[in-house]
Every structure is written in C-alpha cells, then in structure tokens.
C-alpha cells in the first residue's frame, strides 16, 4: 500500500498529474478518493473491499473532474478492460491518463464488507477464474501478487437455472425482476462504458424508450442497455451493485457476453488494439439473423 501512496505522491508532487483517483476509507467501507495534494496521498488504500471500477471517472462527461487536470487512476486488472474500452472507442487518448495498476487477488461483492475474508460465498462474481491479477494495461504496477481468488459457482449456477427455464418461465422471471426498476438509471451512470453524451433513454423527440417505470418502459430500457453492452461490457459488476432495486443485471450482461463469444470468438480484453465486434466487419461474420 505504501508503494501506491509513494507513487501517487510522486506523480502529484512532480506535476505529472493533477488528481489521483483511488480508494479511501469512508463511513461505510472503502470509496472512491480524489487526491489532488501529494501530502494527502496517505489517504489511499487498496484491499479486497475495493470493488468499485474507477475507470468510470475517466469519462469525458465528468466536467467537474476534468477541471482537476490530468488523471491518474488506480485500476485492478479487470478494471483495465474498461480503460481499454474507452481507448478502443476513442473516448480518451492513452497520453491523457496515467494508469496505476494494482495486483489483486479478488474483491468482495460489496465495498462495506467489515473485513470479512474472501471465500466462495463472499467473492465477487467476476473474480472466479480471474486471468488478470497482474494488470497488463498500466503505466505502473504496484503490490505483491496475491494468490488466485476463491472460485465461486454462484453466477454460473444462476445462469444455468435461467437457461433451464422454458421461454415462458424465463419471461415471467424477468418481468418480476424488472418490475422493481424505478428508472433511476444508476446502472447507466456507474457504467464506465455508458459514456454517451445523450443516452437514447433520455431522448424525447421522439421518445424511443418510455421514461415511465412500467412494464413497457422498463423492458425497453433494460433490453437496450443490455444490447448496447454486448461485446463491450467489461464485467465489473458495477451496474448490479449500484441498483437500488437489486435487479441481477450482471446475468443479462453475462448472457450477452457468452453470445458474442460464441458467435464472434471475441472476449472483452484489456488490449485496446483488438477491435470489438461492434466496430469491425468480416465478410464471413455470421449474419443469418439479418432479415
């Protein structure tokens, strides 16, 4: 941790960056921190409670953050996939950000964990089978390499449960889940890949997606959100964590990711040079679904 603090202090001290976006202790566990003074770098922490994906703060939409100057951002290996996504989709330029990679052995599902151990029950869904404990897309990498996180079958079990359902059961299940949505759009705002200047859900002339939290509006919103994430979602789980109605959005994202992998052989990567299916055409792309 001291290595991270020293690095942050140096980058702020020599003027390389204007702000270091990292984690600090908050009243309810760790939370995002914005350190602008080298003397404050000791606020920074990193441990298994650091679930948040801080790449979201790189979005050009965050005007009041941009005023602090060039950003350094603390990322776990998985969060680096979001940084790669922003680079791939030309939202930021590589020289605009200093990426501080932290070696990570898995995080809890929630930031407020009171120091509980990482177990198959407490570990975040995305950590099972992690292949990026050592961040690759980074200017600096700090910390010792921890052992692999515990393996949980929680998400796979839930996916399987839904796959086994009949179409009608599946429809009823999602209707029940989505009816709780109050359309606060927290899922969108915490998503590093939801960076549109104007979201289709906010357009009113015409209103493509009804803003009402009724069955029609909620279905239209969640289908659109999930489809726009196909082949783009970095699987940080922030949408699901942020949802005040506990809608299991990660399951939708995961399903789309599986379909993209099956059809296009593409898995979201932390290499920004690998084009995503949405930005690439191959003559032999499967296209029998185009009428």
């Amino acid at each position: 941790m001291q290595e991270l603090r020293d690095l942050a202090s140096r980058l702020l001290g020599d003027g390389t960056v204007g702000v270091v976006v990292g984690y600090e202790e908050g009243p309810r566990g760790v939370r995002p921190a914005f350190v602008t003074d080298a003397a404050d770098a000791d606020r920074l922490v990193f441990d298994r409670r650091c679930v948040q994906n801080l790449a979201v703060y790189l979005s050009p939409r965050r005007g009041h953050l941009a005023r602090l100057g060039k950003k350094a951002v603390v990322v776990k290996g998985c969060d680096a996939r979001a940084v790669a996504g922003l680079l791939r989709e030309k939202q930021i330029a590589r020289q605009d950000v200093v990426v501080l990679g932290v070696r990570c052995g898995g995080v809890l599902r929630h930031e407020s964990g009171n120091g509980e151990a990482l177990t198959a029950q407490t570990v975040a869904d995305r950590c099972s089978g992690c292949d990026c404990r050592e961040p690759r897309l980074a200017d600096h990498v700090v910390g010792d390499l921890p052992p692999s996180p515990p393996v949980s079958t929680r998400r796979a079990d839930r996916m399987e449960e839904i796959e086994r359902m009949s179409p009608q059961e599946r429809w009823d299940r999602w209707q029940r889940e989505l009816q709780r949505c109050v359309r606060c759009h927290a899922c969108r705002e915490v998503c590093p890949m939801c960076f549109c200047e104007r979201c289709v859900a906010d357009k009113t002339v015409p209103s493509w997606i009804e803003s009402s939290p009724h069955g029609r509006g909620n279905l239209a919103w969640h289908l659109t959100r999930a489809l726009h994430q196909a082949g783009r979602c970095c699987d940080c789980g922030e949408c699901e964590r942020a949802c005040p109605a506990n809608i299991p959005l990660g399951l939708l994202n995961r399903k789309l990711a599986q379909v993209v992998e099956e059809r296009f052989g593409y898995r979201v990567t932390d290499d920004p040079a690998v084009p995503a299916p949405i930005g690439r055409y191959e003559p032999n792309d499967a296209q029998e679904f185009i009428l």
């Binding site: 908050g26 009243p27 309810r28 566990g29 760790v30 939370r31 995002p32 921190a33 914005f34 948040q52 979201v56 965050r62 005007g63 009041h64 953050l65 005023r67 602090l68 930031e111 029940r176 109050v182 359309r183 606060c184 759009h185 927290a186 969108r188 705002e189 915490v190 906010d202 209103s207 009804e210 803003s211 009402s212 939290p213 009724h214 509006g217 922030e238 964590r241 942020a242 949802c243 005040p244 109605a245 506990n246």
Partner: protein, 348 residues
C-alpha cells in the same frame, strides 16, 4: 390527552386478521422473494418482519408511486375525451413502519398541499392509517437525531407502537389513531405503563448522533452557494439518483404523455430527481446545472435551505438510505455534520 393501550403479540396477529378480513389493505415490512426486507402488502401476521433490517425503500411509493396515470385520452374525428383516474382509495393500514419513514410522508404532505391540493396524494393519505414502531437504530448510517427527529419520533404517525411487557404499547398521536384504537378496541387492553424508548440494542447508532442546528445550517447554506466545498464533495457522485429513489422525502416528479397507438394515450407522472443532468436541461441544450457539483448542491440546498425556508423544517428524516444505497460512498450524514460544523464556526 391521547390514549395509550396495550396489545399482545397474539392481539396484533388477530388485528391483522381482522383488518385483512374486513377488506383493509395491510402494508408492513416483509421479506421480498429475493430475501430483502421491504414494505409490502401482507395478508398474514407472520409475513411481517420485526427485525432491525431497514426496508430497502421508504413508504413513499405507497403514496406517490414510481409511475402513475393522471388521466387517459382518446381522440375521435371531432373530439377528445378524457378519462380521469380514481382519486378515492380503499382503506389501508401501514403497520410497523420506521419513524423516519412516516416522518417522510408528513414532510411531503406540506409540499403536496401548500398551493394546490394534490388529489392523488391526499386520496391515498386519507385512506391510510400510519402505525409506526419505535426503533432501536439500524446501523451507523442512521442520523435521525442529527435532523431533529429520534428513533421514537411521532411525526407523521397516527399511532406509535412501543415495546411493552408481552407485546406492545400503542400510543395514539392523531384523531385517526384514536379512532383506530376504538374501532379495534377488542384487540387492545388497558394499561398504566408509560411508552418508553426501545432499549438501544445498537448503542451509538441512530440515536447516537448529536442534533445539528437547522437554523445555523440554513444560514450557512444561504451564504455559501458558491463555496468550493461543493466541487470537492461531489467528485465521487455519479449523478445516478439512487439516493432520491430510496429517499422518504424526495418527491420530485416528471409528467409525460405516452401515446398508445395513434388516437389514445395516458398522461403519467414519474419519479424524477435533481441528481440527473436531464432534470434541468433546457430545450436549447443549455443546462444551468452544468455538472454534478451543482446537482449535488441542489439536493443539499433543497433539503436544508429551500424547503426549510418555506415550511420551517428540514426535508430529511435521517433514515440514512441514501448513504446505504450510494454506489460511490456519498454520505449525507457525513456531509450534514461537516456543514453543521462549518455553520457552528460561522456563528462563533
């Protein structure tokens, strides 16, 4: 002098059966299919969860649903017909609500009735008896005392339940509460006990926070609209509005016309929040609240300056749900204590 009666656990179970059997809708903290506690319609006493878990949403949705039709329209060749929605509602009892949640309902009453009496809000209010349950605090995000309430606050309640020997004491607060006690007299017994606060199982929580001085906070806010603090405290805020969705006193709404086919449609009102960019964007594209610092400031200003200037109290009941729901760790109790400290310093 309002009446206090006793009611046993069995009495309460029979009361629920009486109410449900008599066609009254009973709403109480209960477990949702996903395991979380929320205010839900219950049919049996044993569905009610009497625990220290905070229901995930407030009572707001039972008076101001996330989306509700205001009227429907149908167009013919020469005319438009309007189909109104009913503004009278069947009887309901909310049982075992948190004092902060019923206080939230009372705070919104002021807004819904000051210039125009909102028929849908008051239709539901009048049909509903609010029975709260004195609270022992939930966790470190509770801050009801800081905003001038308490775990046994009576604000907004018709009847408050306190723990008593072998059951509860039921203390009437309003005429509606008195009528409720008389209408269900068979289930209540006489008592000479005094209503006492819940033994604070979570010592230091909920009740442990010192009251802030609302007048000093208001005065400080009115002079610090441009304070640099707003920029720094809102850096982590995503502008998602989850705080407003779970807030018992946030009540802003949007009104939309939703066509259903070419000739008919529905006008609805939907929850809205000042935390999103869209809330204030003008047709020209200009947004007077250009970024999240301005939007978060608005949330604090409305709760601790604008509403108090009009109605005398603060628009926050200290339930702490915003802090619990926030994906970024924005913490209203922390921010209010910070402002209270700045305000106290300014007075000195």
């Amino acid at each position: 002098m309002m009446t206090t009666k006793s009611i046993s656990r069995d009495g309460l179970a029979s009361l629920v059966a009486d109410l449900v059997g008599g066609g009254t809708e009973v709403i109480a903290p209960s477990r949702a299919p996903d395991g979380e506690v929320e205010y839900r319609r219950v049919l049996r006493f044993d569905e009610i969860v009497w625990s220290d878990e905070m229901p995930r949403s407030s009572l707001k949705e039972f008076f101001l649903p996330p989306s509700e039709p205001l009227f429907s329209w149908r167009q013919t060749r020469s005319d438009v017909t309007i189909e109104p929605v009913p503004t009278r509602f069947g009887p309901r009892v909310v049982l075992g609500a948190r004092p902060c949640d019923v206080a939230g309902v009372a705070a919104v009453d002021a807004v819904m009735g000051w210039d125009y009496r909102d028929e849908l809000w008051f239709g539901r209010r009048e049909a509903t008896t609010l029975v709260s349950s004195a609270c022992g605090g939930v966790d470190g995000s509770c801050f009801c005392r800081m905003v001038g309430l308490s775990p046994e606050s009576e604000k907004g309640a018709d009847l408050v339940l306190f723990p008593g020997d072998g059951g509860h004491l039921a203390k009437a607060v309003t005429e509606k509460g008195e009528s409720f006690l008389s209408a269900h007299a068979a289930r209540f017994g006489e008592t000479t006990d005094e209503a006492k606060p819940v033994a604070d199982a979570n010592a230091g929580l909920g009740g442990g926070v010192a009251p802030a001085d609302p007048a000093a906070i208001r005065a400080w806010l009115s002079e610090h609209f441009e304070d640099p603090m707003w920029e720094s405290i809102a850096l982590r805020c995503h502008g998602c509005g989850a705080c407003a969705a779970v807030c018992p006193s946030c009540h802003c709404f949007d009104i939309v016309d939703e066509p259903e086919g070419l000739l008919e449609g529905t006008r609805r009102r939907n929850w809205d929040t000042c935390q999103t960019a869209r809330f204030t964007v003008h047709a020209s594209g200009h947004n007077p609240r250009a970024d999240q610092s301005a939007r978060f400031r608005q949330r604090v200003m409305h709760k601790f300056s604008i509403y108090p200037a009009k109605f005398g109290e603060v628009l926050c009941t200290g339930c702490g749900r915003c802090a619990r729901a926030c994906p970024a760790g924005m913490d209203l109790p922390e921010i209010v204590s910070k402002i209270a400290a700045l305000a106290a310093e300014a007075v000195r």
